[in-house]
Protein backbone atom coordinates (compact mmCIF):
# COMPACT_ATOMS: atom_id res chain seq x y z
CA UNK A 1 0.00 0.00 0.00
CA UNK A 2 1.26 3.39 -1.01
CA UNK A 3 0.64 5.02 2.37
CA UNK A 4 2.28 2.43 4.57
CA UNK A 5 5.52 4.39 4.98
CA UNK A 6 3.53 7.34 6.22
CA UNK A 7 1.66 5.04 8.56
CA UNK A 8 4.88 3.76 10.05
CA UNK A 9 6.09 7.27 10.72
CA UNK A 10 2.78 8.31 12.19
CA UNK A 11 2.68 5.46 14.67
CA UNK A 12 5.52 6.89 16.69
CA UNK A 13 5.73 10.57 15.82
CA UNK A 14 3.40 13.50 16.04
CA UNK A 15 2.77 13.94 12.29
CA UNK A 16 -0.80 14.24 11.12
CA UNK A 17 -2.69 10.96 10.77
CA UNK A 18 -2.86 9.27 7.44
CA UNK A 19 -6.43 9.53 6.22
CA UNK A 20 -7.84 6.02 6.39
CA UNK A 21 -11.45 5.05 6.05
CA UNK A 22 -12.81 3.19 9.05
CA UNK A 23 -12.95 0.00 6.95
CA UNK A 24 -9.31 0.38 5.90
CA UNK A 25 -8.25 0.87 9.52
CA UNK A 26 -10.08 -2.28 10.65
CA UNK A 27 -8.56 -4.24 7.77
CA UNK A 28 -5.10 -3.01 8.79
CA UNK A 29 -5.76 -3.89 12.41
CA UNK A 30 -6.63 -7.43 11.36
CA UNK A 31 -3.75 -7.69 8.88
CA UNK A 32 -0.29 -9.12 9.39
CA UNK A 33 1.96 -6.06 9.37
CA UNK A 34 2.72 -5.29 13.03
CA UNK A 35 3.45 -1.62 12.39
CA UNK A 36 0.20 -1.18 10.44
CA UNK A 37 -1.77 -2.94 13.17
CA UNK A 38 -0.23 -0.73 15.85
CA UNK A 39 -1.05 2.38 13.86
CA UNK A 40 -4.58 1.22 13.07
CA UNK A 41 -5.35 0.65 16.76
CA UNK A 42 -4.24 4.18 17.56
CA UNK A 43 -6.17 5.52 14.59
CA UNK A 44 -9.43 3.83 15.62
CA UNK A 45 -9.10 5.55 19.01
CA UNK A 46 -8.88 8.95 17.37
CA UNK A 47 -11.94 8.23 15.20
CA UNK A 48 -14.05 7.17 18.21
CA UNK A 49 -16.47 5.11 16.11
CA UNK A 50 -18.15 2.57 18.42
CA UNK A 51 -17.91 -0.05 15.67
CA UNK A 52 -14.21 -0.16 16.54
CA UNK A 53 -14.89 -1.84 19.88
CA UNK A 54 -15.09 -5.45 18.60
CA UNK A 55 -11.90 -5.46 16.54
CA UNK A 56 -10.03 -3.57 19.28
CA UNK A 57 -11.14 -6.10 21.89
CA UNK A 58 -9.59 -8.80 19.71
CA UNK A 59 -6.40 -6.73 19.45
CA UNK A 60 -6.41 -6.48 23.25
CA UNK A 61 -5.70 -10.24 23.30
CA UNK A 62 -3.00 -10.16 20.63
CA UNK A 63 -0.05 -12.52 21.12
CA UNK A 64 2.03 -11.61 18.05
CA UNK A 65 3.24 -8.08 18.76
CA UNK A 66 5.82 -8.54 21.55
CA UNK A 67 8.79 -6.47 22.68
CA UNK A 68 12.13 -8.01 23.67
CA UNK A 69 11.11 -7.60 27.31
CA UNK A 70 7.77 -9.34 26.81
CA UNK A 71 5.60 -6.21 26.44
CA UNK A 72 2.49 -6.06 24.28
CA UNK A 73 2.59 -2.81 22.26
CA UNK A 74 -0.58 -3.52 20.27
CA UNK A 75 -2.54 -4.29 23.43
CA UNK A 76 -1.41 -0.97 24.95
CA UNK A 77 -2.70 0.97 21.96
CA UNK A 78 -5.90 -1.08 21.81
CA UNK A 79 -6.64 -0.38 25.50
CA UNK A 80 -6.02 3.33 25.00
CA UNK A 81 -8.28 3.42 21.93
CA UNK A 82 -11.07 1.59 23.77
CA UNK A 83 -10.92 4.28 26.45
CA UNK A 84 -11.17 7.03 23.86
CA UNK A 85 -14.19 5.38 22.25
CA UNK A 86 -15.70 5.09 25.72
CA UNK A 87 -18.18 2.29 24.96
CA UNK A 88 -19.07 0.13 27.99
CA UNK A 89 -18.97 -3.02 25.87
CA UNK A 90 -15.19 -2.78 26.33
CA UNK A 91 -15.49 -3.15 30.10
CA UNK A 92 -14.95 -6.92 30.51
CA UNK A 93 -12.00 -6.94 28.11
CA UNK A 94 -10.36 -3.98 29.83
CA UNK A 95 -10.90 -5.51 33.27
CA UNK A 96 -9.19 -8.66 32.02
CA UNK A 97 -6.33 -6.51 30.69
CA UNK A 98 -5.71 -5.35 34.28
CA UNK A 99 -4.15 -8.79 34.84
CA UNK A 100 -1.86 -8.64 31.78
CA UNK A 101 1.82 -9.32 32.54
CA UNK A 102 2.74 -6.04 30.79
CA UNK A 103 2.54 -3.19 33.31
CA UNK A 104 1.94 -0.66 30.52
CA UNK A 105 -1.10 -2.61 29.31
CA UNK A 106 -2.44 -2.53 32.88
CA UNK A 107 -1.75 1.20 32.99
CA UNK A 108 -3.59 1.94 29.74
CA UNK A 109 -6.45 -0.33 30.82
CA UNK A 110 -6.81 1.56 34.11
CA UNK A 111 -6.98 4.93 32.33
CA UNK A 112 -9.40 3.50 29.76
CA UNK A 113 -11.68 2.16 32.49
CA UNK A 114 -11.74 5.63 34.03
CA UNK A 115 -12.97 6.99 30.70
CA UNK A 116 -15.80 4.44 30.47
CA UNK A 117 -17.23 5.89 33.71
CA UNK A 118 -18.78 2.56 34.72
CA UNK A 119 -18.75 1.65 38.40
CA UNK A 120 -18.17 -2.04 37.67
CA UNK A 121 -14.49 -1.21 37.13
CA UNK A 122 -14.06 -0.13 40.75
CA UNK A 123 -13.65 -3.53 42.43
CA UNK A 124 -11.03 -4.89 40.02
CA UNK A 125 -9.05 -1.63 40.22
CA UNK A 126 -9.28 -1.62 43.99
CA UNK A 127 -8.04 -5.21 44.07
CA UNK A 128 -4.80 -4.08 42.39
CA UNK A 129 -4.16 -1.58 45.18
CA UNK A 130 -4.78 -4.17 47.83
CA UNK A 131 -2.11 -6.56 46.55
CA UNK A 132 0.85 -4.18 46.87
CA UNK A 133 3.47 -6.94 46.58
CA UNK A 134 3.03 -6.79 42.79
CA UNK A 135 4.37 -3.67 41.06
CA UNK A 136 1.41 -1.82 39.59
CA UNK A 137 0.85 1.35 37.58
CA UNK A 138 -0.07 3.03 40.87
CA UNK A 139 -0.66 6.51 39.51
CA UNK A 140 -3.07 5.25 36.83
CA UNK A 141 -4.97 2.97 39.20
CA UNK A 142 -5.38 5.67 41.85
CA UNK A 143 -6.42 8.30 39.30
CA UNK A 144 -8.92 5.91 37.71
CA UNK A 145 -10.49 5.29 41.11
CA UNK A 146 -10.67 9.04 41.59
CA UNK A 147 -12.29 9.62 38.19
CA UNK A 148 -14.79 6.87 39.02
CA UNK A 149 -15.54 8.61 42.31
CA UNK A 150 -14.85 5.34 44.18
CA UNK A 151 -15.04 6.62 47.72
CA UNK A 152 -14.79 3.07 49.07
CA UNK A 153 -11.16 3.16 47.87
CA UNK A 154 -10.23 5.91 50.33
CA UNK A 155 -8.48 3.70 52.89
CA UNK A 156 -6.66 1.69 50.23
CA UNK A 157 -5.36 4.88 48.61
CA UNK A 158 -4.28 6.61 51.82
CA UNK A 159 -0.94 4.71 52.26
CA UNK A 160 0.17 6.01 48.84
CA UNK A 161 0.48 9.51 50.32
CA UNK A 162 3.82 8.19 51.61
CA UNK A 163 4.89 6.53 48.35
CA UNK A 164 8.45 7.09 47.11
CA UNK A 165 7.26 8.53 43.79
CA UNK A 166 6.10 12.17 43.76
CA UNK A 167 3.69 11.40 40.92
CA UNK A 168 2.02 8.67 42.97
CA UNK A 169 1.84 10.85 46.10
CA UNK A 170 0.35 13.65 44.04
CA UNK A 171 -2.28 11.35 42.49
CA UNK A 172 -3.24 10.03 45.93
CA UNK A 173 -3.49 13.58 47.25
CA UNK A 174 -5.84 14.88 44.55
CA UNK A 175 -8.07 11.83 44.66
CA UNK A 176 -8.31 11.89 48.47
CA UNK A 177 -8.98 15.63 48.41
CA UNK A 178 -11.90 15.04 46.07
CA UNK A 179 -13.24 12.44 48.49
CA UNK A 180 -12.61 14.20 51.81
CA UNK A 181 -11.74 17.91 51.26
CA UNK A 182 -9.15 17.49 54.03
CA UNK A 183 -6.99 20.65 54.10
CA UNK A 184 -3.78 18.73 54.87
CA UNK A 185 -3.86 17.21 51.39
CA UNK A 186 -3.66 20.60 49.74
CA UNK A 187 -0.19 21.03 51.24
CA UNK A 188 1.09 18.00 49.34
CA UNK A 189 -0.28 19.44 46.11
CA UNK A 190 1.11 22.90 46.83
CA UNK A 191 4.58 21.54 47.65
CA UNK A 192 4.79 19.56 44.42
CA UNK A 193 3.69 22.62 42.49
CA UNK A 194 6.88 24.29 43.76
CA UNK A 195 9.13 21.31 42.98
CA UNK A 196 12.48 22.07 41.29
CA UNK A 197 11.68 19.57 38.52
CA UNK A 198 9.57 21.32 35.84
CA UNK A 199 7.78 18.18 34.66
CA UNK A 200 6.70 17.44 38.23
CA UNK A 201 5.43 21.01 38.59
CA UNK A 202 3.45 20.51 35.42
CA UNK A 203 1.95 17.23 36.67
CA UNK A 204 1.15 18.84 40.03
CA UNK A 205 -0.61 21.71 38.22
CA UNK A 206 -3.15 19.37 36.68
CA UNK A 207 -3.40 17.20 39.79
CA UNK A 208 -4.40 20.30 41.75
CA UNK A 209 -6.97 21.07 39.06
CA UNK A 210 -8.38 17.54 39.30
CA UNK A 211 -8.67 17.84 43.07
CA UNK A 212 -11.36 20.50 42.73
CA UNK A 213 -9.68 22.60 45.46
CA UNK A 214 -10.98 25.97 44.27
CA UNK A 215 -9.06 27.96 46.86
CA UNK A 216 -5.91 26.70 45.13
CA UNK A 217 -6.70 28.79 42.04
CA UNK A 218 -4.17 31.47 43.00
CA UNK A 219 -1.44 28.83 43.24
CA UNK A 220 -2.27 27.63 39.74
CA UNK A 221 -2.13 31.16 38.38
CA UNK A 222 1.29 31.87 39.89
CA UNK A 223 2.99 28.48 39.42
CA UNK A 224 6.30 28.42 37.53
CA UNK A 225 4.70 26.60 34.59
CA UNK A 226 4.04 27.75 31.02
CA UNK A 227 1.25 30.30 30.63
CA UNK A 228 -1.07 28.22 28.43
CA UNK A 229 -0.85 25.31 30.87
CA UNK A 230 -1.74 27.55 33.81
CA UNK A 231 -4.74 28.85 31.88
CA UNK A 232 -5.85 25.35 30.91
CA UNK A 233 -5.40 24.08 34.46
CA UNK A 234 -7.58 26.88 35.82
CA UNK A 235 -10.23 25.98 33.26
CA UNK A 236 -10.01 22.33 34.29
CA UNK A 237 -10.30 23.30 37.98
CA UNK A 238 -13.42 25.28 37.15
CA UNK A 239 -14.97 22.36 35.25
CA UNK A 240 -14.10 19.86 37.99
CA UNK A 241 -15.46 22.09 40.76
CA UNK A 242 -18.73 22.58 38.91
CA UNK A 243 -19.01 18.87 38.24
CA UNK A 244 -18.35 17.99 41.90
CA UNK A 245 -20.93 20.54 42.99
CA UNK A 246 -19.57 21.02 46.51
CA UNK A 247 -19.10 24.75 46.02
CA UNK A 248 -21.89 26.83 44.45
CA UNK A 249 -21.08 27.86 40.85
CA UNK A 250 -21.17 31.58 41.67
CA UNK A 251 -18.57 31.06 44.39
CA UNK A 252 -16.40 28.92 42.09
CA UNK A 253 -16.55 31.73 39.55
CA UNK A 254 -15.63 34.35 42.14
CA UNK A 255 -12.53 32.39 43.10
CA UNK A 256 -11.34 31.33 39.66
CA UNK A 257 -12.24 34.18 37.29
CA UNK A 258 -10.00 36.83 38.95
CA UNK A 259 -7.06 34.38 38.72
CA UNK A 260 -7.82 33.61 35.10
CA UNK A 261 -8.18 37.29 34.28
CA UNK A 262 -4.65 38.06 35.44
CA UNK A 263 -3.30 35.56 32.89
CA UNK A 264 -5.03 37.08 29.86
Amino acid sequence: MNGSTTARMASNTAVLPQQLTWEQAVAQLQGTDLQDRYYAAWYLGTVRDPRGVEPLLLALQDELDRTALGGYPLRRNAAKALGQIGDVRALPGLVEALTCTDLHVREEAAYALAQLQDGRAVDPLLALLQAPEVEQPWEAVIEALGQLNARQAEEAIRPFLQHASERVRSAAAWVLYRFTQAEALTQILAELLAHPNPSLRQAALFDLAESGWVAGAALLATADVALNLRINALKRLFDVALQLGQVPPSQVAELIIPQLDRLF
Binding site: T222, A223, D224, L227, N228, I257, F264
Partner: protein, 213 residues
Protein backbone atom coordinates in the same frame (compact mmCIF):
# COMPACT_ATOMS: atom_id res chain seq x y z
CA UNK B 1 10.56 61.45 33.34
CA UNK B 2 12.31 62.39 36.57
CA UNK B 3 15.49 60.56 35.60
CA UNK B 4 16.08 62.53 32.39
CA UNK B 5 18.70 64.97 33.74
CA UNK B 6 20.88 62.09 34.91
CA UNK B 7 20.46 59.98 31.76
CA UNK B 8 24.19 59.24 31.50
CA UNK B 9 24.50 57.44 34.81
CA UNK B 10 21.44 55.16 34.52
CA UNK B 11 22.50 54.07 31.00
CA UNK B 12 25.65 52.67 32.55
CA UNK B 13 23.46 50.93 35.08
CA UNK B 14 21.34 49.42 32.29
CA UNK B 15 24.48 48.20 30.53
CA UNK B 16 25.64 46.66 33.76
CA UNK B 17 22.34 44.86 34.24
CA UNK B 18 22.38 43.75 30.58
CA UNK B 19 25.71 42.05 31.25
CA UNK B 20 24.33 40.46 34.40
CA UNK B 21 21.29 39.21 32.51
CA UNK B 22 23.64 37.65 29.97
CA UNK B 23 25.58 35.83 32.67
CA UNK B 24 22.69 34.78 34.88
CA UNK B 25 22.20 31.04 34.93
CA UNK B 26 19.76 30.39 37.78
CA UNK B 27 16.13 31.58 37.84
CA UNK B 28 16.92 33.41 41.08
CA UNK B 29 19.67 35.43 39.40
CA UNK B 30 17.40 36.17 36.43
CA UNK B 31 14.64 37.34 38.76
CA UNK B 32 17.03 39.60 40.62
CA UNK B 33 18.17 41.31 37.40
CA UNK B 34 14.57 41.65 36.16
CA UNK B 35 13.52 43.30 39.41
CA UNK B 36 16.56 45.59 39.32
CA UNK B 37 15.72 46.68 35.76
CA UNK B 38 12.21 47.59 36.86
CA UNK B 39 13.44 49.44 39.94
CA UNK B 40 15.91 51.40 37.81
CA UNK B 41 13.03 52.78 35.79
CA UNK B 42 15.07 53.48 32.66
CA UNK B 43 13.27 53.01 29.34
CA UNK B 44 16.54 51.67 27.87
CA UNK B 45 16.00 48.67 30.12
CA UNK B 46 12.61 47.76 28.62
CA UNK B 47 14.02 45.73 25.69
CA UNK B 48 15.94 43.64 28.21
CA UNK B 49 12.74 42.94 30.12
CA UNK B 50 11.08 41.99 26.84
CA UNK B 51 13.94 39.56 26.18
CA UNK B 52 13.22 37.98 29.55
CA UNK B 53 9.76 36.99 28.23
CA UNK B 54 11.56 34.47 26.05
CA UNK B 55 13.74 32.78 28.67
CA UNK B 56 11.26 29.93 29.00
CA UNK B 57 11.04 30.47 32.75
CA UNK B 58 7.42 31.39 33.47
CA UNK B 59 8.21 32.89 36.87
CA UNK B 60 10.82 35.15 35.24
CA UNK B 61 8.39 36.05 32.45
CA UNK B 62 5.67 37.02 34.92
CA UNK B 63 8.11 39.17 36.90
CA UNK B 64 9.30 40.85 33.70
CA UNK B 65 5.68 41.53 32.75
CA UNK B 66 5.07 43.22 36.11
CA UNK B 67 8.16 45.36 35.65
CA UNK B 68 7.27 46.33 32.08
CA UNK B 69 3.82 47.40 33.28
CA UNK B 70 5.43 49.83 35.72
CA UNK B 71 6.57 51.84 32.70
CA UNK B 72 2.99 52.21 31.51
CA UNK B 73 2.63 53.85 28.09
CA UNK B 74 6.38 54.34 27.74
CA UNK B 75 6.61 50.58 27.15
CA UNK B 76 4.28 50.52 24.14
CA UNK B 77 6.85 51.52 21.52
CA UNK B 78 9.56 49.09 22.68
CA UNK B 79 6.97 46.31 23.00
CA UNK B 80 5.86 46.79 19.41
CA UNK B 81 9.42 47.16 18.12
CA UNK B 82 10.81 44.12 19.91
CA UNK B 83 7.92 41.75 19.28
CA UNK B 84 9.22 38.16 19.05
CA UNK B 85 8.15 36.80 15.68
CA UNK B 86 9.41 33.28 16.37
CA UNK B 87 8.73 32.46 20.01
CA UNK B 88 4.97 32.60 20.52
CA UNK B 89 5.41 32.05 24.25
CA UNK B 90 7.39 35.27 24.50
CA UNK B 91 4.99 37.03 22.12
CA UNK B 92 2.06 36.17 24.40
CA UNK B 93 3.72 38.05 27.27
CA UNK B 94 4.33 41.10 25.07
CA UNK B 95 0.72 41.08 23.91
CA UNK B 96 -0.48 40.72 27.51
CA UNK B 97 1.58 43.80 28.35
CA UNK B 98 0.04 45.76 25.45
CA UNK B 99 -3.41 44.57 26.48
CA UNK B 100 -2.98 45.84 30.03
CA UNK B 101 -1.45 49.16 29.08
CA UNK B 102 -4.31 49.82 26.71
CA UNK B 103 -2.64 52.40 24.47
CA UNK B 104 -4.22 53.14 21.10
CA UNK B 105 -0.95 52.55 19.21
CA UNK B 106 -1.28 48.81 19.85
CA UNK B 107 -4.57 48.67 17.94
CA UNK B 108 -3.31 47.58 14.51
CA UNK B 109 -1.02 44.96 15.99
CA UNK B 110 -3.78 43.44 18.13
CA UNK B 111 -6.25 43.26 15.25
CA UNK B 112 -3.63 41.54 13.09
CA UNK B 113 -2.80 39.07 15.88
CA UNK B 114 -6.48 38.18 16.41
CA UNK B 115 -7.01 37.56 12.72
CA UNK B 116 -3.72 35.90 11.83
CA UNK B 117 -1.66 34.61 14.77
CA UNK B 118 -1.59 30.82 14.96
CA UNK B 119 -0.85 30.68 18.71
CA UNK B 120 -3.93 30.49 20.96
CA UNK B 121 -2.17 32.21 23.86
CA UNK B 122 -1.31 35.19 21.63
CA UNK B 123 -4.81 35.43 20.15
CA UNK B 124 -6.44 35.21 23.58
CA UNK B 125 -4.25 38.00 24.95
CA UNK B 126 -4.86 40.15 21.87
CA UNK B 127 -8.63 39.69 22.13
CA UNK B 128 -8.48 40.57 25.82
CA UNK B 129 -6.70 43.84 25.07
CA UNK B 130 -8.66 44.96 22.03
CA UNK B 131 -11.57 46.59 23.89
CA UNK B 132 -9.32 48.65 26.14
CA UNK B 133 -7.08 49.69 23.23
CA UNK B 134 -9.93 50.41 20.82
CA UNK B 135 -11.60 52.67 23.38
CA UNK B 136 -8.70 55.10 22.75
CA UNK B 137 -9.25 55.08 18.97
CA UNK B 138 -11.58 56.96 16.60
CA UNK B 139 -15.14 55.77 16.10
CA UNK B 140 -14.45 53.69 12.97
CA UNK B 141 -11.85 51.60 14.82
CA UNK B 142 -14.18 51.15 17.77
CA UNK B 143 -16.86 49.91 15.41
CA UNK B 144 -14.43 47.51 13.76
CA UNK B 145 -13.28 46.24 17.18
CA UNK B 146 -16.87 45.70 18.23
CA UNK B 147 -17.51 43.63 15.13
CA UNK B 148 -14.36 41.58 15.63
CA UNK B 149 -15.16 40.94 19.29
CA UNK B 150 -18.68 39.84 18.40
CA UNK B 151 -17.15 37.32 15.99
CA UNK B 152 -14.79 36.14 18.72
CA UNK B 153 -17.82 35.20 20.83
CA UNK B 154 -18.37 32.22 18.54
CA UNK B 155 -14.69 31.21 18.25
CA UNK B 156 -13.94 27.50 18.73
CA UNK B 157 -11.38 28.34 21.46
CA UNK B 158 -13.10 28.91 24.82
CA UNK B 159 -10.20 31.18 25.77
CA UNK B 160 -10.94 33.54 22.88
CA UNK B 161 -14.64 33.67 23.83
CA UNK B 162 -13.70 34.26 27.46
CA UNK B 163 -11.32 37.06 26.52
CA UNK B 164 -13.93 38.63 24.24
CA UNK B 165 -16.38 39.01 27.14
CA UNK B 166 -13.83 40.92 29.23
CA UNK B 167 -12.84 42.99 26.22
CA UNK B 168 -16.44 43.92 25.38
CA UNK B 169 -16.86 44.96 29.01
CA UNK B 170 -13.93 47.36 28.68
CA UNK B 171 -15.31 48.74 25.44
CA UNK B 172 -18.76 49.23 26.98
CA UNK B 173 -17.22 51.02 29.93
CA UNK B 174 -14.59 53.18 28.25
CA UNK B 175 -15.61 53.34 24.60
CA UNK B 176 -17.99 55.75 22.90
CA UNK B 177 -21.33 55.93 24.75
CA UNK B 178 -23.26 55.25 21.53
CA UNK B 179 -21.56 51.85 21.18
CA UNK B 180 -22.25 50.78 24.73
CA UNK B 181 -25.56 49.08 24.04
CA UNK B 182 -24.05 47.02 21.22
CA UNK B 183 -21.17 45.92 23.43
CA UNK B 184 -23.68 44.98 26.11
CA UNK B 185 -25.66 43.02 23.56
CA UNK B 186 -22.51 40.96 22.89
CA UNK B 187 -22.16 40.22 26.59
CA UNK B 188 -25.84 39.26 26.61
CA UNK B 189 -25.10 36.71 23.84
CA UNK B 190 -22.29 35.23 25.93
CA UNK B 191 -24.75 34.56 28.77
CA UNK B 192 -26.08 31.72 26.61
CA UNK B 193 -22.65 30.19 25.92
CA UNK B 194 -22.75 26.41 26.46
CA UNK B 195 -19.54 26.69 28.49
CA UNK B 196 -20.49 27.69 32.03
CA UNK B 197 -17.24 29.57 32.53
CA UNK B 198 -18.15 31.94 29.70
CA UNK B 199 -21.70 32.49 30.86
CA UNK B 200 -20.61 33.14 34.44
CA UNK B 201 -17.94 35.56 33.20
CA UNK B 202 -20.64 37.36 31.20
CA UNK B 203 -22.84 37.49 34.29
CA UNK B 204 -19.99 39.09 36.23
CA UNK B 205 -19.53 41.65 33.46
CA UNK B 206 -23.19 42.57 33.50
CA UNK B 207 -23.05 43.16 37.23
CA UNK B 208 -19.91 45.28 36.85
CA UNK B 209 -21.54 47.39 34.15
CA UNK B 210 -24.79 47.75 36.09
CA UNK B 211 -22.79 49.12 39.03
CA UNK B 212 -20.98 51.56 36.69
CA UNK B 213 -23.73 53.12 34.54
Amino acid sequence: MASLPAAQVPSTAVAQLAAELEQATSPEALLRVVRALGALGQVEGIPLLIRAFGFNRPAVGEAALEEVLRFGELAVKPLLEHMDGFDYGARAYSVRALARIGHGDAYGFLVEAIVADFAPSVRRAAVRGLGRVAARRPVSDQEQALLLLQQCLSDADWGVRYAAVGSLTDLARSGLPELRSQAQAGIQTALADADRLISLRAQMSQQELAADP
